[in-house]
Subunit: 364 residues, 2 copies
DNA sequence: CTGAAAGCGCTTACAG
DNA sequence: CTGAAAGCGCTTACAG
């Protein structure tokens, strides 16, 4: 088993010298570009194979000034939503010959050390911050996922937007339709956070309830700092403290279940910020002996793969994160390759029925 | 908002010309290596900042003949185990300044187009095949995860081995301890597959049962081709059919539940090939009205994060895939950097108690 | 159809 | 402490 471990790797120059031709010809033959005498081409290709020649993608990248890599700027795949997005962008990127990479740590400084042609940002808040911090000095094409949260972005950044305001409406209206009126909202931030899902919830709950909307929100925020919408996603950039900043929606959901019970809320249903939060809440309620959906109904938002694991199957508002990821990749690659592309893509949401909501209409 | 989009990026040469020094000095100043007059260094750094200079990592990679990227050779993160491994290797790699990348498609041919310093193989079967196919002509350091399955590898490939034979023993013995004797095995391949978990199951079940071991195996194999241990992981390499080749253990687990019911097996417990299979089986049993663990106990193998989502919490044999991934990354990076490293690492397993096993002892 | 030359952006002995 | 030079492995006008 000869290994090339210690030997110097074969280059195009080696092949050229062996065959008594120039590297230009070798390059043309191997790349199948430009004129090469047919017999010579054959011979070059055969020789390359025999010598075990392997191209050096780094040298090609330098020459062609492109890496065929795009960065998904998120810490490792810590939450189910990002994971789905990653799957979607991976598929699309691959079809176009690109690879999606992740730094594994959120640090703007690190981006410049990474061999990439462009960046996909997981949300608009991070994008806003990124553009403020490094956007002026450093150009790379950027595409951002977006959820209709309030930010101030230069319009030069394409957005792939899921209307989470609408998602909340869809979820609430489904619950109304099923006969629910007393509906709680499981929310992983402070109630002062101007999140689109929270805004929509306020709006919707007031249609059916006379109580203050605050009475219906189960807000889980351990750290005050987490509630700053600007800090929640990239605090680590400031305080090299990346491990602490994982957002664990599942764990927050579990805590929400405890708060829900402590407060003896008389809701018949809970709609949650996202699926992972919903799964946490559901699991903890079940652990405490509460039956879902017999005693309480639960609805998530996102449509991640994890929802299929549980019993009862989680009812959710499907935002199709895979499609969103794919669209982000498509647009980014279009930008990189200087093709025309859309600057805003809206993606629709739809209710995905599971088994976690009780039909209260049949009761009367 | 000035963007460098259209402008040519600043290089070290630009800085050098502007300051009337050589690129060598600029390089030394920016890299903080070698002698540079202190005042000059300051000035160079300041100027670089003002001009919005951004280093070209590709050029550095070419020069230094290293990419600081390592490949995890798996299709996107399709199964929970690989996902955990990825998380572990990501963490370790990051601490050492490396990035873990994935091609998103299994194709040996594609590896050579990827800018990497080494490869982590997800299992020994794939490694064996890889070495047969391209190992002779193409050298890159390789580390392989391993599960004590029968393969023929040159000993030059370091293994990070989890003894799945032992894991099965641990799971079975726990069930025995809890008073179970009639135990089924949920297996995603044919019973002719020489998998270490299957071998251990045969051994263990014969300790408590007089029936043939085959009577206790629920084997789910849709496609004949999938059963070939060699084909199951890389068929796509031969038949550009990558989408079809996803292994969906969860779905197989669901089917296993149906087979289990159809066959009216009188087992009191099922031990499953892995957690995902166990989750699928559990969910489908619950859907059919079977209570876990009251009617049937379930044990998984792996200890993936997904097990926390469900009720009852899945009892499993924890193989710590994160640690395995981390160890793979560590060893690979040691090899890349020519440090001494171990050639075989054995990782122990341990039972992780959940709520999915009924204690039959209290009954008598 | 071919090959010498310049270039991608950086690094690093080496001679001053 | 500095800078000219060679080099990393490849590509691509351009002159023959």
């Amino acid at each position: 088993m000869p290994s090339r471990n210690t030997e110097k790797p074969i280059t195009r120059k080696d092949i050229a010298e062996l065959l008594g031709v120039s590297v230009s010809v070798v390059s043309r033959a191997l790349n199948n570009s430009g004129y090469v005498e047919e017999k010579k081409r054959q011979k070059i290709i055969r020789t390359a194979e025999e010598l075990g020649y392997v191209p050096q993608p780094v040298a090609m990248s330098l020459q062609e000034r492109r890496t065929k890599q795009i960065l998904f700027y998120c810490k490792d795949l810590n939450n189910e939503f990002n994971l789905e997005m990653y799957r979607g962008m991976c598929k699309t990127a691959n079809e176009r010959g690109y690879m999606v990479v992740m730094n594994g740590v959120l640090s703007f400084a690190r981006i410049r050390d990474t061999m990439i042609d462009g960046i996909i940002m997981p949300n608009e808040n991070l994008t806003e911050y990124y553009l403020e911090q490094v956007g002026k000095n450093y150009y790379l094409p950027v595409v951002s996922a977006s959820y209709c949260n309030p930010v101030n972005l230069p319009k030069s950044v394409p957005l792939v937007e899921i209307d989470m305001y609408r998602a909340m409406e869809v979820g609430m209206q489904y619950l109304f339709h099923m006969g629910h009126k007393r509906i709680a909202f499981g929310f992983p931030y402070s109630t002062t956070n101007p999140n689109s899902r929270l805004l929509a919830f306020k709006e919707q709950i007031s249609l059916k309830s006379d109580r203050r909307w605050q009475d219906w929100v189960v807000s889980v925020h351990w750290l005050d700092k987490r509630d700053d919408i600007r800090l929640m996603a990239f605090k680590e950039d400031m305080e090299d403290n990346s491990l602490k900043m994982e957002e664990d929606f599942f764990a927050k959901g579990e805590i929400a279940a405890q708060l829900f019970q402590e407060r003896k809320m008389d809701a018949t249903a809970v709609i949650c910020f996202n699926d992972e939060f919903a799964l946490g809440m559901m699991r903890e309620l079940q652990r405490m002996g509460v039956k879902v959906p017999q005693d309480i109904s639960i609805v998530g938002i996102d449509g991640t793969r994890a929802r299929r694991y549980v019993t009862p199957l989680l009812t959710t508002v499907d935002a199709n994160p895979q499609r969103q990821g794919g669209e982000c990749a498509k647009i980014l690659i279009d930008m990189i390759e200087k093709k025309n592309t859309k600057y805003i893509v809206h993606q629709s949401v739809r209710l995905l029925e599971g088994e976690s909501v009780k039909d209260l209409r049949s009761r009367r």
